[in-house]
């Protein structure tokens, strides 16, 4: 047990003598019933089997911030980092600020934020490896870095930037509510360290002594309905109508009347000049996702066209199964799909833990996507290796794989879309994400067989019908893509939140790249239609095809990269250096980040540690593995 030192000041002790029945969200604050099996168990912190005697052990606890009092002195975050031995480039708790007014009637409101141990922990639901647990003890949402494989999805879904992906270690870690201190009746380290009397902690909904409010809204804090966070605020001092952020995010907070809550709106603080920013765009850390999504969608599209095309009556697609074209096409699809999967896996912080991606089928769209895509890949491999043999049993088996592949493509494709529908990322949380994925499947799913056919078919005349069909499929894909963008742009501007901030970056920071993409998209539509009508027997068709291919590849690369770099999450406001993405980028570009004490780490790739994988296999008996597999279903 954590040792309570002699003379510990009274401010460090928890003081909840009473508590309410239910939280404002309607959930019981007592998290388990009296005789629940969840009670009376040790938290086994660092192997310690003792059980704490905190009388409120099974009640939901939460932080309390009196934002009027926070002086931004960093004592909370430092006490946390000191206690938890957190490396300097990440932090379980951070202080940022918003500011408003005009000198000397100026106001800065500091906000100290860690994990809110939410009632609806989206991190837990999103994590594919089941590294998260919400404990009956204190309602703490804890994450186990030893399980995590470093995909960072929890950092995408959390609206508060609580989970911290360490680019050096390649794993996530986060606030542990100092459950070791709670067990002995002490408040968390950050709260005990507070020098402004701003932070507090206790059973949720309890208002600390000398305080009067328990709000869930404050300027700069994301809306509470995403996760039902267990944090309460006091902020009584009158604020300006407009509160701005000092970090690089093009977002500010506005309210129309006193007493109303603040809404995030776009802050066009970097001007209106348009830039290419090609390098930034095409070498972002998310490039692995760009490659993976495009490759997977292309192969899924092509595979479905290949298999289902004739079933729905497009007879000409049978031409794809003619000799030479068929084996080459299958080989190309396998290569592309493998490349995508390789990229995805190797971007993980711990790529050798890939198998853990299935662990959370019950809750995580990522797990389901991985399962679906894996099934599709299995189908593709099976089909590709068997379909070429004209033996009945092989053909039959090939069809089994084919259907598995189609099923995998549908499930994987759907969850690939679903996993980006993140409320904390308004730019993605739009149906256009789906239309973009479908259109990619159509455009590149048609382009791949088209190119293969043109390059290897013995006679162009014979395959002319399939070329026209594929070109029309591309036209359809390009139209869907274009229509999606029109609506997406309209809605982002209309929503006015972080999505509008993303849109602002789209037309300024990446403005030239964006318009290039749009222009190419329109031109490609015309060229594809032209190709469908003209065919490729004559030279014009060939030229058209060449130009078209270049164009759709460029639009695809730019478009999908924009999708990833533009997203602005509903995170907490940062400070001028700390938790400011703009400074992080600057420190990496200029080499300031080479000094460890700057607190910025470079993104890096992590090795596939075969020895660790083998060791894991050796350590676990077959039975244990079966048990683990069962857990996937049981949860």
């Amino acid at each position: 047990m954590y040792k309570v030192r002699e003379g510990e000041p009274s401010y460090a002790f928890l003081k909840d003598s009473e508590s309410q029945e239910k939280s404002r969200y309607g959930q019981p604050i007592e998290l388990t019933v009296e005789d629940s099996a969840l009670r009376g168990e040790s938290l086994t912190i660092n192997g310690d089997g003792d059980i704490g005697e905190n009388p409120n052990r099974y009640k939901q606890h939460g932080f309390y911030l009196n934002a009027d009092n926070c002086i931004g002195c960093h004592a909370c975050e430092s006490a946390c980092s000191e206690k938890n031995d957190v490396p300097s480039h990440i932090a379980f708790r951070s202080v940022g600020f918003v500011e408003g007014g005009t000198y000397p009637n100026y106001q800065r409101i500091n906000i100290s934020m860690a994990c809110n141990h939410c009632e609806d922990p989206v991190c837990l639901k999103g994590c594919p490896t089941r590294a998260y647990t919400k404990f009956a003890e204190y309602g703490a949402v804890l994450q186990d870095p030893d399980i995590c494989f470093g995909c960072g999805y929890c950092t995408w879904v959390c609206p508060y930037n609580a989970p911290q992906l360490d680019p050096v270690k390649g794993e996530v870690s986060k606030c542990n509510m100092c459950v070791d201190r709670l067990e002995v009746g002490l408040k968390p380290a950050c709260v005990s360290a507070c020098l402004g009397n701003a932070l507090d902690f206790g059973v949720i909904e309890n208002i600390p002594e000398n305080r009067e409010q328990a709000e869930t809204e404050i300027s700069g804090f994301p809306r509470a309905d995403i996760t039902r966070p267990n944090i309460r605020f006091q902020q009584n001092k009158p604020t300006e109508h407009e509160m701005t952020r000092t970090d690089s995010m093009p977002v500010k907070y506005h309210r129309e009347h006193y007493g109303e809550s603040f809404k995030a709106t776009v802050d066009e603080k970097q001007g209106h000049e348009k830039y290419w920013n090609f390098k930034k765009l095409l070498t972002s850390h998310e490039i692995a996702h760009v490659v993976f999504t495009l490759c997977t969608q292309a192969t899924m599209g092509a595979f479905i066209l290949l298999l289902l095309g004739t079933l729905v009556g497009v007879e000409s697609l049978a031409l794809l199964k003619t000799p030479v074209v068929f084996p080459v096409l299958l080989a190309v699809l396998v290569i592309i799909c493998t490349m995508g999967l390789y990229q995805l896996n190797m971007h993980l912080g711990k790529p050798h833990r890939f198998y853990r991606g299935f662990y959370n089928l019950k809750l995580s769209p990522v797990s389901r996507e991985i399962a679906g895509v894996s099934l599709f890949y299995l189908g593709l491999l099976g089909y590709s290796s068997l379909a070429l043999f004209e033996v009945a049993i092989f053909q039959w088996l090939a069809m089994v794989f084919a259907w598995l592949g189609v099923l995998g493509a549908l499930v994987g494709g759907y969850f690939m879309y679903k996993l980006y529908r993140i409320p904390a990322r308004p730019f993605w949380d739009h149906w256009q994400t789906g239309s973009a994925f479908v259109s990619a499947a159509l455009i590149y799913g048609a382009l791949v067989p088209l190119m293969v056919t043109v390059l290897v078919a013995p006679s162009w005349i014979a395959v002319q019908p399939v070329i026209a069909v594929l070109a029309w499929v591309m036209v359809a894909g390009l139209i869907i893509e274009g229509v999606g963008h029109v609506f997406h742009a309209r809605d982002m501007k209309k929503w006015g939140n972080e999505g509008a901030g993303s849109y602002y970056w789209q037309v300024t920071k990446y403005g030239k790249s964006y318009w290039l993409r749009n222009g190419l998209l329109g031109l490609a539509m015309l060229l594809a239609a032209g190709l469908a009508l003209i065919g490729i027997e004559n030279g014009i068709g060939l030229v058209l095809l060449g130009v078209l291919t270049g164009m759709v590849l460029v639009t695809g690369a730019i478009g999908r990269s924009l999708f990833f770099v533009l997203v602005i999450p509903t995170t907490m406001p940062g400070a001028f250096f700390w938790k400011n993405d703009g400074f992080v980028e600057h420190a990496r570009e200029t080499g300031l980040a080479e000094m460890e004490q700057v607190g910025v780490a470079y993104e890096r790739h992590h090795k596939f540690k075969t020895d660790e994988l083998i060791a894991t296999i050796k350590e676990h008996s077959l039975l244990a593995m079966v048990e683990e597999a069962k857990n996937i279903l049981k949860g």
């Binding site: 002086i71 000398n210 703009g582």
Partner: protein, 733 residues
Amino acid sequence: MLFGRHQKNPIKIADKGIEKWSYSTCGYCSTGCSIEIGINKDGKPVASRGVADADVNRGKLCVKGLFEHELFESSGRGKTPLLRNSIHDDYQESGWDGALDKMAAEINRIQEKYGPDSFAIVSTGQILTEGFYTLGKLARGVIGTNNYDGNTTLCMASAVSGYKRSFGSDGPPGCYEDFEHTECLLAWGSNLPEQHPIIYWRFKEAREKRQFPLIVIDPRVTMLAQYADFHLCITPGTDVVLMNAMMQVILEEGLEDRAYLEANTVGFEALAAEVKNYDPVSASRICGIDEDTIRTVARIYAKAGSAMSIWCMGINQSTHGSDGVVGINNLSLLTGNIGKPGGTSLSITGQCNAMGTREWSSCSGLPGYRLLENSQDREDIGKFWGVDPDFFPKKRGLTQTDIFPAIEAGDIKGLWLVGTNPMTSMPNTSRIRKTLEKLECCVVQDSYVDVETAQYAHIFLPAAIWAEKEGVFTNTERRVNIIRKIKEPYAQSKTDLHIFNALAKRFKRAEKMHFPHHFDDVFDEMRELSKGRLVDISGLTHDLIEAHKGIQWPYTKEQSENGELPPKGGKRLYVESATFSYPDGRAKLIPLPFVDNNEKPDKEYPFWLNSGRLVEHFHSRTRTGKIANNNKFSPTPFMEMNPDAAVALGVKHQSYVRVVSRRSDAVVLVMLTQRVSRDMVFIPFHFFDCVNRLTLGLLDPHSRQPAFKQGAVRIEQIDQVLAARLNKEAREF
């Protein structure tokens, strides 16, 4: 495991394996927090925490203290003494004997050739009091230079000077406990949340129990200013005008404490006559605070049952620094607010042991607040040390800020810098570079070999840091607290006490003197010398200090022998009537005519340049710049600038600009914020080759403290790629 997992995972929480907590006192600022360092089984310091029952900090620490254990292994420490003949040569490693022999020989050579005062010593507010005392003995009794001062001239000299002028002696009369009693707090150029967060917390605790008016005088909207009932955004350098106007209102309305004045002060008539020149209307045109606010604030202050003033560099670092302190004292005396609970004039000090150097280092006089100008004091100390009293100069020599011009003038040829970094901390550093180049011998004694001033050293002496030594600090509220040794000195580095003693041995004059090696024995000498003085510490012992987690002076031998335990806190000076340190026991009310000699913004240089501290850094960043969990909050210099001014100049947020003054330029990242006015910029002072390239630093006539906070600059655009490169190149840590 409400949901998420079927089976419960064991929880892992970082366990640093602490086997022992070792007591110490924080070595950064002057708040004087008691700190415990956690040691693991290998003897390695791995954790820091505030001492739970220490009265000053009551278990809390600020961001710097929380990572103080990392200091022991921070980069850039000096390993061995280094020698070179010319500053253009590379250093050669040396043993201690070789280095100290060379140093003693150089001191002798320079003094013989150019006179005893041609070798100067500039020390610090960072080392232990026992070290200071020994350095004083060495400087005054052995080396015999009168050009011996501390870098406290850059931060506390005005407070010292103001206290001496008003009360007859240095020594802040109040204490932190005054927050618990005061009915009005006036904060002059002090931003507690950023500069002294623990003192802020003590204030906040008091104010949560009991609301009382807070009046903040600061040109910048600091966090403290945001919490003020009245924020007076004063025109830089005009505090004295505001003080005079407040006094004028107080006298005009008869709000002064007549009885107190009659019993305790002299000089009332002259003061009353002078402040008549500062009616609030005329004053408002100079200081920028409107008439109504001046009157309101003066009334609130004077009518409060008890009222306290605190101040920091906003007052001290000015050409009227000493006058500003006297003005605050005048206000306190006029309203009878000295020596009573909640009524005081309390300077908030900068360095951890600025007070220790003031009390015991003999920098501006002789130990125990004794004066060189006083023959009895010279006699007493001469006798105690075994030095001919005539060997002592009869007048104080040059201050740090006058020592550098004396080097320029060729009067000083050798300089010994102890724990100070003028290359970053002095105003107008391009001038300082030229100055340092002129030295025939420059000795830098520092814990860090990468301290920027080491570029100009001929001899580098690696010193132990903080808790690699043992001894005491005195904090802002006159509390003596102890630093216990946690680790042996790094590599070949030595404690300051050891270095001073070893150097003393090399001089013939020291043969008849006693230089104790043990810090307990040094402390015994100080106790003896403190008897009957204002700074009476004769009742203290090192163990008693640790047992009480710091004890405020005075605490006399008689009190200790009578079994009177030292109080936890709340000890004040000048509690009894007419007990001030002037011979007649009366404090002086001193008239303060305002002289306007600042460099002010004009057409060519349209911005006021203000500088100050950040909570995550300490002084010239030689320590906090290497501790990532401190440094990351501001790893590179920046400048606060008003967005409206930026629009006019086309300056963008988070871009680099070149700030130019009549001295030089500095490259900074721009942070646009309405925290500063349209005609002012603010740059933190911690960074090497930055704000002090720009500052003018005119000197206060009394304290010789530079006016860091009043100067004029203009803003120029700079190529962003070049600026980023220059900025990076200027940062080795």
